[in-house]
Symmetry: C2
Subunit: 454 residues, 2 copies
């Protein structure tokens, strides 16, 4: 029996080779061309996925995981064909423990769905990459986003995992205890492994108490430098910002056009404070003093929940707002992260490089982490502009490494950033390959991604 | 030329086979018998260690790392002979960046030495396991201690590493950027790997700002349950305790005898608050309300730095205080960690089990993390008591796993806890072995530790 016949027998209608299903799973949110897989499987349990993996292992069928399809470096595209595992039917919240402040979820649960379920509990899951990604995908990508400056990335918010390995073995990593010192940190190894070492079938996630008080504000600056220097001073003062986001003038123009706002078209910081009412007041006051020191404008407060929602929707829609301004663009997202001390330099050099190119490239980012993005928008009908944008992105990556940083703060490698791995990791990249070979000797898990290609 | 001749030629007087040096490196802080290595090497750089590793690889000489010799599960003992790498001559602080709030250190620097060096900078390194361990050893053991409840364990405080592999390759993991999403988290893999995958030659550590205000206090409780329930409620209220330690009546008796205090001989919590003056007041008040709810006594404040030093010295000397009360004991340290919701149950069952055995066994722990220790003190001349103590420790490990926890919160596996690894990790333990085989195929790095023994 062929591998596909065996999958068909195992899964019935939950194994699909229909053209529309294949086409849907060939798309990504980025500029990559469509790459439909040969089949799509919808498992309902780890045990079922283990059976799928045994079949794929026997028949050498490549297997690529799929959460919500929101990754930006082609992580979920079946580059070498084979099947996509869509976790849409593994989307249950299995447990919420207020006492232990944790939730156990299946990988297909999205972060918004989890937070909706948590609303009445007084708890929330803090990691917020913007897109309504699946939690399995967020773990596999080591995602972060606007709140990582306070609450950490997926690295620090995943306590334990259940993982199905390439050969169908099921393992559990970590536990519900807050910490452990018993052997290799397999949880951390699978977080960020982009589906190349195993597929995550269950996640135990740390939750946070909903803060008693929340306050958010917008603040304009005359120069990029003043805004970024404000961020650096804020971090160094130890003010526990829940969010501190930078957007440049080009972004603000896009916000105004897309979101109907009338912000002054200059660099801004968008901030949020969490804590007790007194704590939030203290933080806001301390931050205000720093802003004044760097010549920032008055705060525009968003104190009501609906105002805050509107503020962060603006930020999260930055990508769409910029694209709407340039409908003929071939968008290229970048994602570098540098030490805070080099942030001003990194942003200024990048802005100057983009300006000199003449290509639109609004800059925004999670600057409390040293992480920022330029959304490069070359004209899709001008190949020389596209090549120029790729060169700009390459120079950003080189700049990040030269300044002691990393070529991806949160989007991951997929195959979009493979070309920078040798420069960033050197011999360490070979160590990753050795681990890959040890856990997936036939290389069926997400081939073509993250690792050195043979 | 033999391997030892080659090491001798490479290192001269920094390769020692002298009896006293061997004897010194055969000791540990635990109950294990002396196990002198065959040689001790004192490298001065990663490059030199790489040369040592190439010689040891060629001659199949086992290599065990040695920091300050304070590990508790025999991590640094040369169980299979060969050489010990003593990092005493790699003890420099290479860089302190106030802007990036990080330090780069060699592995032989102790945590006290680093904090001494940081004193004037307004920064500190928060991880505090009690012993003045080396930072390389703390990373290799994934250590934590009293402040992990607020600042995390070594897992979250190591940003980047330089590591020498079994075959002498030198790799760098991580960077000075606060986060990254570029491939497998090798930093997290080496943290906690107990010298079985590579030897750490440089660490980039996150630092914290010294808090504006610090306040510490002692508080007595009538029962173990009341003290532990207070901890659980405190964590759930989200009060950002810097330390919250439990000590039982037996410990307090030892403190009084050893430290000359006159505390009521009942269960206590020892707590510390960090923050702004207002923040600390708020935390203390909120904590006070919880204490009152559970019938705790009045706070005894230690506000002056010297009083706090005395308070935490009491706690850190708990081990020596208890040993001093029972000079003829063969001490056996335990270290389980459970979900906070199961903590009261875990402590009460353990206390009852110890009491029924008649063996002294004071309990204390980092209860904000769900982590506690019983120091079992059977008479060293009574083999049946020693066997009974080992059975008690075994039941603690089983209890930890039954309650969803882990057999070691912070001391690690070494060879003292190998017997519990299968029960805790199952198939995951085989995954660890596969990674070990991939990175150290000839098994020369710290043989006999952490992994399934062939």
């Amino acid at each position: 029996m062929s591998g596909f016949a065996a999958l068909d027998m195992l899964l019935g209608p939950r194994f699909s080779t229909g053209a529309s299903d294949l086409a849907l799973h060939g798309q990504s949110e980025s500029h990559f061309p469509s790459m439909p897989p040969d089949g799509v499987a919808y498992p309902r349990s780890a045990q079922e996925l283990a059976q799928i993996m045994r079949i794929c292992c026997e028949h050498a069928i490549p297997v690529t995981g799929w959460g919500a399809g929101t990754s930006l470096e082609g992580h979920a595209l079946a580059l070498k064909g084979g099947i996509v595992i869509d976790f849409a039917q593994m989307n249950r919240v299995l447990k919420v423990s207020s006492e232990d402040m944790l939730a156990i979820v299946q990988p297909g649960v999205t972060r918004a769905a989890l937070n909706e379920e948590l609303r009445a509990s007084g708890l929330f899951f803090p990691v917020d990459p913007g897109a309504n990604a699946s939690l399995g995908g967020m773990a596999a990508t080591r995602a972060s986003g606007t709140t990582a400056v306070r609450y950490g990335t997926m690295r620090s918010n995943v306590l334990a995992l259940e993982v199905v390995l390439a050969d169908g073995r099921i393992i559990r990593t970590g536990s519900e205890a807050p910490k452990s010192s018993t052997g290799y940190d397999l949880t951390a190894l699978f977080v960020g492994s982009e589906g190349t070492l195993g597929l995550i079938t269950e996640l135990t996630l740390r939750l946070q108490g909903q803060p008693e008080a929340v306050s958010a504000a917008l603040c304009a600056f005359e120069t990029v430098r003043a805004a970024v220097d404000t961020v650096i001073a804020t971090i160094q003062h130890g003010i526990p910002m829940a969010r501190i986001e930078f957007v440049d003038a080009a972004n603000v123009r896009a916000f105004n056009a897309y979101g109907g706002t009338s912000m002054p078209e200059t660099a801004h910081l968008m901030v949020e404070f969490h804590g007790s009412p007194t704590g939030v007041r203290e933080q806001a006051q301390a931050f205000g003093e720093i802003v004044a020191e760097f010549g920032g404008g008055a705060f525009h407060w968003a104190d009501r929940p609906e105002d805050r929602t509107r503020l962060w929707a603006l930020r999260h829609n930055g990508y769409y707002a910029a694209r709407a301004l340039y409908p003929n663009a071939h968008p290229l997202t970048t994602d570098i992260c540098v030490p805070i001390s080099r942030l001003a330099e990194a942003v200024e050099e990048t802005a100057a490089d983009i300006e000199a190119s003449g290509i639109p490239g609004p800059i925004l980012g999670h600057v409390g982490d040293g992480n920022f993005h330029a959304l490069l928008l070359p004209d899709k009908s001008a190949p020389e502009q596209i090549a120029q944008a790729e060169a700009l992105a390459g120079r950003m990556a080189e700049r990040a490494l030269r300044l002691g940083g990393t070529v991806s703060g949160e989007h991951g490698i997929g195959f979009g950033k493979l070309k920078y791995m040798q420069a960033e990791h050197g011999e360490g990249w070979n160590v990753m390959s050795a681990i890959k070979l040890a856990l997936d000797p036939s290389g069926i898990l997400n081939p073509g991604k993250l690792l050195r290609q043979q």
